[in-house]
Amino acid sequence: MVLFAFLLLLGATFVAYALNRRAAISIRANGTQLHSLESFHGLFAALTVLVPVLVGILIWLVLEGTVVDWVMIRSLPEGTFDDLGSGASQLIVAEIKSIAGGRVFGTPEPWKTEAAERLVAYNRIADWVLVALVAVSAAMLLWFARRSVAAQFRARQSAERIVLGLMVFCAVAAIFVTIGIVFALTFETIKFFQVVPVTEFLFGTSWEPQIPIREDQVAAEGAFGAVPVFLGTIVISTVALFIAIPVGLMTAIYLNEFANRRIRSAVKPVLEILAGVPTVVYGFFAVLTVAPAIRSFAASIGVDVAPNTALAAGGVMGIMLIPFISSFADDALSAVPRSLRDGALALGATRGEMMVNVLFPAAIPGIVGGILLAVSRAIGETMIVVMAAGLIAKMTINPLDSVTAVTVQIVTLLIGDTSFDNPKTLSAFALGMMLFLVTLVINIFALRIVRKYREIYD
């Protein structure tokens, strides 16, 4: 039914386009000068019909379920929910819905079956109403658009205004979604901090959120000091960047300046493939190859290391970030004008000197941008550390030790049976909030640096 509504709208759009275009053509055929081209008259009509109705349909679809459920609940026998808590009431509604969807378990009470039948009927009615509304409003808009066709009508401007509005809407939607996410996060974080003091979270050095299991145990024994968790993320990210930055930059410089065309055409696709490998595959690599290799190497020189070291997770994450940094740096280096290279070479600079003294400084903004983005990714990277890093938060900066990371903790806290009102679950939001803030600061910092260099080098 919904599909039918969409098809109807599409048809109306095409009809509107054709009608107005025809009308405009006939005005021109009468010898009158048109302000806008015929196709703009068509486009104006098409947009006039399409945009409002489409928005209407989407809003309808968002609200339809809630409204229909509400009507159905109102139609249930008086007092159905009287003695029940909110959880049990939701269960009943869910059961009725699943009966309506054809998934019947056991023999439900007859009043539930009846309610389900009513629900089906309401849904059908709602669909028909939707189609009818689409038809009526499309027809009205069509009529309105058709009436506006006139020699002096500025169809181009009007059509452009509608398109502009659409673009603004899309841009604003992205911003609002971001704000919404931040709000949700903030809300849960505040709830967490009502149970656990901010100071304990920020400065506590012990992280043991798994301990409170039953509700009456709340935070009695759980420890929510996030320092070791963040320390773990820092250790792993540092290892990763220690590998990714030098290797990535060297790769970019080599490809950009020294490699001949054959090598470049072989290496670039490989790097792109590397960038496209799902991180879970890197995770396997870390767990199955790198970690055992580190362990056996350490054993051979008589050092005992943990099976899931920060070195393994960070090292593999570093490999993941290499193409990221190298492609950013490569773009930045390529963007430096050829005349600067020539200028340095003509002064008798070697390629290396030219690279270090001229190309590199000129490319710094792009390179710094790439590196900071890589930092953000390292901090937020989840799959590799979930697979390869440890679960226990330790206060250590030894990369040969097993550490955990913020993302790992968030994942483990939210996996499995959780209810959203105990501090164990809520702490995940606090961690997420911190992660968000840190990345935000890094990005602001990145923009600052980039702008500062721009001023110097432009």
Binding site: P337, D342, G343, G348, T350
Partner: protein
């Protein structure tokens, strides 16, 4: 008129700085320079003129081996600087380029301070031992580039902040800072306004005192104004090479004549 004669005499007295014999240049399959022979004198301005695409820049870039930086470019033949084959395996193009400076069509100061722009060449070639040595070199180069007075109070400001004409003179100063013997200029005024052009032309005339200057130009008036010798290139051939006033008043080759009278362009 007196002046003119003096210049001519100078040109005749000057000794040969660069000799090119049977030079051919290929870009992949494109044959850009065909059998060029030319003797370029010291302490003289030599102009290369010709329609665009005839190979002026290509030939100029042979003299400091900048063509080496283009993958597909191949140079054959013999080019000597003071009797040394510059394409010999024993010659390091990096050293050669310190001896043969180059100024480009578009001013290309580095995104560094004015001081660092000029100091760059001396620095990479280790020409200054102390800071005050370097200061001296920079000042001398900027004076020779006829821009010292305009920038002496803002040596630490970016070179890219200067006007086009100042940037080009800065680039000339940068090129002379490595104490070259030859100065190659590829259309150095084509991105400049008339006043800046006049300043640079005046500077070129002064530079003749110390260097062998080779200038590519698309403006015949400019060639006539600044050069003593002129070479006319056409489709990769060096058609005619002679004293500048000879070329402009009494061209031997019909192609030269058509070009300077504006029939080939």
């Amino acid at each position: 008129m007196n002046d003119m004669r003096k210049i001519e005499r100078d040109a005749k007295m000057a000794e040969t700085k660069i000799t090119a014999r049977n030079v051919n240049v290929f870009y992949g399959e494109t044959h850009a320079i065909r059998d060029v022979n030319v003797d370029i004198a010291d302490k003289t301005v030599t102009a290369f003129i010709g329609p665009s695409g005839c190979g002026k820049s290509t030939f100029l870039r042979c003299i400091n081996r900048m063509n080496d930086t283009i993958d597909i470019c191949r140079v054959t033949g013999d080019i000597q600087l003071d009797g040394t084959d510059i394409y010999a395996t024993s010659v390091d193009p990096v050293q050669l380029r310190a001896q043969v400076g180059m100024v480009f069509q578009k001013p290309n100061p580095f995104p560094k301070s004015i001081y660092d722009n000029v100091a760059y060449g001396p620095r990479i070639h280790g020409l200054a031992r102390t800071k005050s040595d370097m200061d001296e070199i920079v000042e001398r180069a900027l004076r020779r580039g006829a821009i010292w007075d305009e920038v002496k109070d803002r040596l630490d400001q970016p070179g890219t902040g200067l006007s086009g004409g100042q940037q080009q003179r800065l680039c000339i100063a940068r090129a002379v800072a490595t104490e070259p013997e030859v100065l190659l200029m590829d259309e150095p005024c084509s991105a400049l306004d008339p006043i800046a052009t006049a300043q640079v032309e005046e500077l070129i005339d002064e530079l003749r005192q110390d260097y062998s200057v080779v200038i590519v130009t698309h403006s015949m008036q400019q060639a006539a104004r600044v050069s003593q010798k002129t070479a006319f290139f056409h489709l990769g051939h060096l058609v005619e090479f002679n004293d500048t006033d000879e070329i402009f008043t009494n061209p031997k080759d019909p192609r030269t004549e058509s070009y300077i009278t504006g029939r080939i362009g």
